[in-house]
């Protein structure tokens, strides 16, 4: 039980570290949130009113601890740019980014892993070569370029999906899924290729082991050996890559949300940074670091589930 406590502490330490860096960064990079919001035509009286309301002149340490204490009561503070609670803004857009991440992660695992195994099995023969070439190209194509092309083909010419239109899950799940599928594919494509290559490499490596020969000597078919014995052993490095891919998906979704005009957290983050909306950026960095820290924690857990030799340290 002690291990889990230590892990929890480590996770909180990371989140605290990231939040502190964010605060310090905002002190370093120039740019005044009040002017960024009101723009060039702002009237002096309006600038004064907003600056007083935001209280930006308080010392850094006071604001940081104010934010931390607020954290415990679940209050992430007020967004400077939108004058709304940060938590409300994030929760409003979380479903898009989360469902986008989940769909693309599902695509990556469902397509990437089997493809990797197939290309490992038919290594030198035609299917093996063609899979690896396609996966190479998939990895190389810039994701927002694929986004534009997909949008062009399915949005404008084939009209299967309405570009720029996003219907929330609560309104119409089918429509919501349709509008998220294309962007999810654009995000997933490069990562599918990566997972395919990883799985192929690790499966081929595992095939050299003696336990594979033992499995064959038991009279198992090739597929049975691959999926019952080799796959589980080959999954460990693949899962590490999946951990890393979560970070790419979060990063990738920023660009893809822009191309498909999806109201996700990614776009909000870019916007918040450019208008120096510290509380909002802080809230989102918190959310992103939680997602990453939790995913990595889950990965460590999955390691121990798969490989009894590895203990949770």
């Amino acid at each position: 039980m002690y291990i889990y406590l230590r892990k929890l502490f480590a996770m909180l330490a990371t989140v605290f570290l990231v939040s502190m860096i964010t605060f310090i960064t905002f002190e370093i990079i120039p740019g005044d949130p009040v002017l960024a919001r009101l723009g060039v035509d702002a009237d002096e009286a309006q600038i004064r009113a907003l600056s007083e309301e935001l209280g930006l002149d308080e010392p850094l340490s006071k604001r940081f601890f104010g934010w931390i204490t607020g954290l415990f009561t679940g209050d992430l503070g007020q967004s400077i740019r939108y004058s709304r609670p940060v938590s409300e803004l994030i929760l409003d857009r979380l479903p898009v980014t989360l469902s986008l991440a989940l769909i693309s992660m599902a695509l990556i695992v469902i397509i990437g892993v089997p493809l990797g195994i197939l290309s490992a099995r038919y290594g030198d023969r035609l299917p093996g070569i063609s899979i690896s070439i396609v996966s190479q190209i998939g990895m190389a194509v810039p994701s927002f370029w694929t986004g534009i092309i997909l949008m062009y083909i399915f949005g404008l010419t084939l009209r299967w999906v309405s570009p720029g239109g996003y219907t929330p899950w609560s309104v119409d799940p089918v429509e919501a899924f349709k509008s998220l599928l294309l962007p999810a594919v654009a995000i997933a494509l490069p990562s599918i290729a990566t997972v395919t290559r990883y799985t192929r490499n690790t499966v081929m490596e595992q095939m050299k082991n003696n336990y594979v020969r033992l499995a064959f000597s038991k009279g198992l078919k090739m597929n049975a050996v691959l999926f019952r014995h080799v796959l589980k052993n080959a999954l460990i490095p693949v899962i590490t890559v999946l951990g890393m891919i979560t970070a790419n998906i979060l990063g990738g979704s920023i660009v893809i949300e822009q191309v498909f005009t999806l109201p996700g957290v990614g776009r909000l983050l870019i916007n918040a940074i450019s208008v120096r909306d510290l509380p909002l950026v802080q809230g989102m960095v918190l959310y992103i670091s939680l997602v990453i820290v939790v995913t990595n924690f889950l990965i460590d857990i999955v390691y121990t589930l798969i490989d009894p030799r590895i203990k949770l340290r």
Partner: protein
């Protein structure tokens, strides 16, 4: 020399050739060997590493890599394994013929419980229900001398000692009561005390379960301990076949004689160890005549040109040498 199939023979190998096609051309690993495995006998396959004994074993199981070429016949109770379809031989693997490998640590799947790895065999080849299989696995584990099988069932390979892991491998091999077990140097990686227990175990299995065993090793001491008859291999050829005691008391082929001399004796303290001159020919060397000719003391002109045939020396003792029977 034609051999009739007597009902006492389980496996008959006739003129088995195995070569591997590689970028550097075809490498002949086994250059035509013939031998028989009698029912519930333990036959030793012995020779220095690289003589083709492991490849022969894998050939019997048809587990050679895709670039291997097989010719000749391996007759297993009426059916030629070499000609079998993959589906056919696959049904035999694990049920009729099974195999034990050398490396206990790496030959078990590290991520599976040991019990389940035994159970998989039963699942593949029997119609037993889950409960029956579990009880059967426990019995088998007890047969191979594993303490407290109920607890051990749920352990993982890395939690067991080398000896115990090899016992699990043996349990896997005997799960479906195969008629033939191929043991490829099963005790080499174990220390002496455990080695003796494993050998005793194999002997018990052979006696009680009636499975014949092909025991592959380079250690004559072990061979003498466990085998009923021995085939000596050299550079892809079979050079001498004989019942165990006959081979150790009266080896006929120069190579076997040399090997016997090389075995250090208790009373040979202080005397220089004998070593066969020269080195084992590489797989790519063409060997027109007798393969052992370059290192043979008794070699003469004819040995260079012609490959000697087997000469029967009575009581199933044969040697592939022109001077067979005249050397001592």
């Amino acid at each position: 020399m034609e051999r009739t199939i007597s009902e006492g023979t389980l496996l008959q190998v006739r003129d088995l050739k195995i070569s591997f096609t590689t970028v550097k051309g075809d490498l002949p690993a086994v250059r035509g060997i013939s031998f028989d495995i009698g029912r519930n006998s333990i036959v030793g396959l012995v020779g220095e590493s690289g003589c083709g004994k492991s490849v022969t074993a894998l050939a019997i199981m048809r587990l050679l890599p895709s670039n291997a070429q097989l010719s000749g016949t391996i007759d297993f109770s009426g059916r030629n394994i070499v000609a079998m379809h993959e589906e056919e031989i696959r049904k035999l693997r694990g049920s009729e013929i099974s195999m034990i490998f050398q490396e206990p640590l790496t030959s078990l799947n590290p991520l599976w419980k040991v019990g389940r790895q035994i159970d998989e065999n039963l699942k593949m080849h029997t119609k037993m229900s889950g409960g029956e299989r579990f009880r059967s696995v426990i019995d088998i584990m007890r047969d191979v001398g594993l303490p407290d099988p109920e607890r051990l069932y749920h352990k993982y390979p890395h939690e067991l000692s080398g000896g115990m892991r090899q016992r699990i491998a043996i349990a896997i091999a005997i799960a479906c009561r195969p008629s033939l077990i191929i043991a490829d140097e099963p005790t080499t990686a174990l220390d002496v005390t455990i080695q003796a227990q494993i050998l005793q175990l194999l002997k018990d299995i052979n006696r009680e379960k009636g499975s014949s065993i092909i025991f592959i090793s380079h250690n004559f001491g072990i061979i003498r301990e466990i085998c009923t008859s021995v085939c000596v291999m050299y550079a892809g050829h079979l050079v001498e076949v004989a019942p165990t005691e006959k081979l150790f008391c009266g080896p006929e082929h120069p190579y076997t004689i040399g090997l016997m001399k090389a075995i250090p004796k208790i009373d040979s303290k202080g005397r220089e160890l004998y070593d066969i001159p020269g080195k084992v020919p590489s797989i790519t060397d063409a060997l027109p005549g007798c393969p052992f000719e370059p290192r043979c003391e008794y070699a003469f002109e004819r040995c260079k040109r012609e490959l000697p045939q087997f000469k029967a020396l009575g009581d199933q003792h044969e040697s592939r040498c022109f001077l067979a029977g005249e050397l001592r």
